[in-house]
């Protein structure tokens, strides 16, 4: 038996057997420390020559038990953990969780805070898509894309840093809105970004969209039929690339998305190239959304809901009145008791439908906290996509699903 294993190698042959005169079936292990698996994904590939017979993605290397942690933390304490699930789109994860808690409690943030939530969510979507584009193109061989994409992502991270002080794990959203005022100069930073980014994105598009190598590696690869996409529960660009129009921002609009004018790009062939086009267009639409939000958002007004049960009292009154100081104390030490009931709140995250299911038994901690992360559900389509494909295309298929293993494993 041919041995190509090494102690440090990330691609190693698990087993081989003869299945014909000149044919051998080979089981190849890929990962979990393989650069193209975007983290710690392990894929066991069964090959007949170069053709894939079966694929078995093995996950869980980054499992931290976030759901169990959520059941042992008070509602306000769990927000930082949502950052660490999908760490390239932390504000979107914050948003989904906070909206779920607000729905459970029956409250909503003031209008101005909703606009700023949308701005931050769409910036986060662009940042997430930039990471996807850089790493996906890097996997396929366009090395320079990752340098360019991370350069523009830096601008967004600077905006996050100005807004909340953190760049990656932002912990940005709070129950009831934002407790701090929008920092000075933040609008100018976003305006600068809106000026810079479209032409930069056009450069990426010029590099890739008509590039014959890019088309050869992506066109017709990893085709997902629409029926299969629905049955596998795919969401996000994986579903829309197959021609199904399902974007939660349009289908079940939350926050102020129903006031905004934007389009949902839909693919026609359902291959890797179409999903690339869909995500590129989503970035352009996100720019439109941010532009409209900056124009429409009220310039003054409350950013935090003034509510006495579920929302932390404003800092100014905490220092001035005994009642609010007591409430602040109780809110921080004991938390609030949410109403009994169960909610499922889904938002359109950069990768698909991010759902938080909270079962509340009326105490100050959720009885059951469930994270329905898009990439976990999307990743199970990989065996379907890879069936009969070439080994080199598996890399493109993993990239096109757009996984973040922190979010897959939770």
């Amino acid at each position: 038996m041919m041995q190509e294993t090494s102690t440090t190698g990330t691609m190693q042959i698990e087993s081989e057997r003869q299945i014909g005169d000149n044919r051998r079936e080979m089981v190849l292990n890929m990962g979990p420390q393989h650069p193209s698996t975007h983290g710690v994904l392990r894929v066991v590939v069964t090959l007949d020559g170069e053709t894939i017979v079966a694929t078995d993605p093995i996950i869980g290397y980054l499992h931290r038990g976030v759901e169990k942690i959520g059941e042992t933390r008070r509602y306000s304490q769990f927000t930082p953990w949502t950052d660490r699930t999908d760490y390239v789109a932390a504000p979107l994860n914050n948003l989904g969780y906070i909206l779920a808690v607000e729905k459970l409690c029956g409250i909503a943030a003031p209008e101005r805070a909703q606009y700023w939530r949308v701005i931050m969510a769409e910036l986060s979507r662009i940042a997430s898509h930039l990471v996807w584009l850089g790493t996906h193109a890097l996997d396929i061989g366009a090395l320079s894309m990752s340098l360019y994409c991370f350069r523009e992502r830096e601008l967004i991270l600077d905006i996050f840093e100005r807004f909340c002080g953190a760049r990656l794990t932002t912990n940005m959203m709070e129950i009831g809105g934002f407790s701090r005022e929008i920092p000075l100069g933040l609008t100018d930073m976003i305006e600068d970004f809106l000026k810079i980014f479209p032409e930069r994105q056009q450069e990426y598009s010029d590099i890739l969209t008509q590039n014959p190598i890019w088309i050869a590696r992506t066109r017709g690869i990893g085709v997902i039929e629409p029926e299969a996409a629905i049955s596998y529960g795919l969401t996000g660009a994986c579903l829309r690339g197959s021609g199904i129009n399902y974007d939660i921002r349009k289908a079940q609009p939350y926050l102020i998305y129903d006031r905004l004018d934007f389009e949902v790009p839909i693919g026609t062939r359902g291959d890797v190239y179409d999903r690339y086009l869909v995500r590129m267009e989503e970035m352009r639409q996100a720019m439109r959304i941010i532009r409209q939000c900056l124009d429409q958002a009220p310039t003054d007004g409350p950013l935090m809901l003034n509510e006495s049960n579920y929302v932390i009292p404003p800092h100014a009154t905490v220092l001035r009145t005994a009642e609010d100081m007591q409430r602040h104390f109780v809110w921080v030490i004991k938390g609030f008791e949410a109403p009994k009931g169960e909610v499922y709140m889904a938002i359109e995250q950069s990768k698909g439908e991010l759902g938080y299911y909270i079962y509340s038994d009326g105490s100050n901690m959720p009885y059951r906290m469930r994270l329905r992360t898009p990439d976990f559900v999307n990743l199970q389509v990989l065996p379907y996509m890879a069936q009969g494909a070439m080994l080199a295309d598996v890399v493109a298929m993993i990239g096109t699903i757009d996984i973040v293993l922190g979010s897959v494993d939770r």
Binding site: G65, E71, E307, T317, D324, R327, Y367, R368, R370, Y384
Partner: protein, 238 residues
């Protein structure tokens, strides 16, 4: 709690339960001159724009008007054990044995078309009731109607739950995760292995309510067996 909280223009059903703190002495308040009005001067929750009140995303909140409930009652009768409404959400409690037929019916009925399995998970009801121990929670989505629907089925600890992989391909990994985290066996699942934990994990199913937060066995880093621990127990509730 009212049956239809989304309809009454933003006032949440629990607004009456808001703790009414005593009003401030006006003299003192004037001297302090708070920049922001204290929250307890407000009556309950701020007025919420009707746009933000999610309504109609799960269909009408009425058993007689919701087409899925009407169709299920007509088709399955006694397999439907109860309907619950909370906020704008619709929960249908069904018998676990008929879960695949109900899902296939909801998927294939042309008027409903709940084609997408959004989520499949479970809740361990150990602290809340005696039997059955688990609730399998299935969240469906209908692309043409743009509605969600939640099905809940009670499953005893020793009782296998029929698999949904025959109806939705998405159930494959979700049921594996359910098995991994709760120990709920999906009868008929083609590939029921552990999903997130290691294949040789022998310490049970961590999302059960009787599973300790730090596990049954304390993990000690090799070489640190005698090292003093900074904090012995979690400061959080168990």
């Amino acid at each position: 709690m009212s049956q239809n909280p989304a309809s009454d223009a933003g006032t949440p059903p629990d607004a009456q339960e808001t703790i009414q703190l005593p009003a401030l002495d006006t003299q003192v308040a004037a001297e302090l001159a708070p920049v922001i009005e204290p929250a307890h001067d407000q009556t309950g929750v701020q007025e919420i724009d009707p746009v933000w009140v999610h309504s109609g995303y799960w269909g009408p909140l009425d058993e007689a008007l919701h087409p899925a409930i009407v169709a299920l009652r007509a088709q399955f009768g006694d397999a439907i054990e109860g309907i619950t409404f909370f906020r704008d959400e619709v929960t249908v409690r069904v018998r676990a044995e008929s879960l695949p037929e109900i899902c296939a019916f909801l998927r294939d009925t042309p008027d409903l078309k709940y084609q997408m399995l959004s989520d499949l998970t479970a809740v361990d009801m150990l602290n809340l009731r005696d039997e059955p121990r688990f609730d399998v929670v299935v969240t469906l989505y209908s692309i043409p109607r743009r509605w969600r629907l939640r099905l809940k089925a009670g499953v005893r600890e020793d009782q296998p739950c029929p698999t949904l992989t025959t109806v939705y391909a998405a159930a494959g990994w979700l049921e594996r995760e359910c098995y991994d985290m709760f120990g709920i066996v999906s009868a008929g699942h083609p590939d029921l292995r552990r999903m997130l934990l290691a294949e040789d994990w022998d310490e049970g199913h961590p999302l059960r309510k009787d599973y300790p937060i730090r596990g049954y066995k304390q993990y000690v880093q090799p070489g640190f067996a005698g090292a003093p621990r900074i904090r012995e127990t979690s400061t959080e509730g168990d």
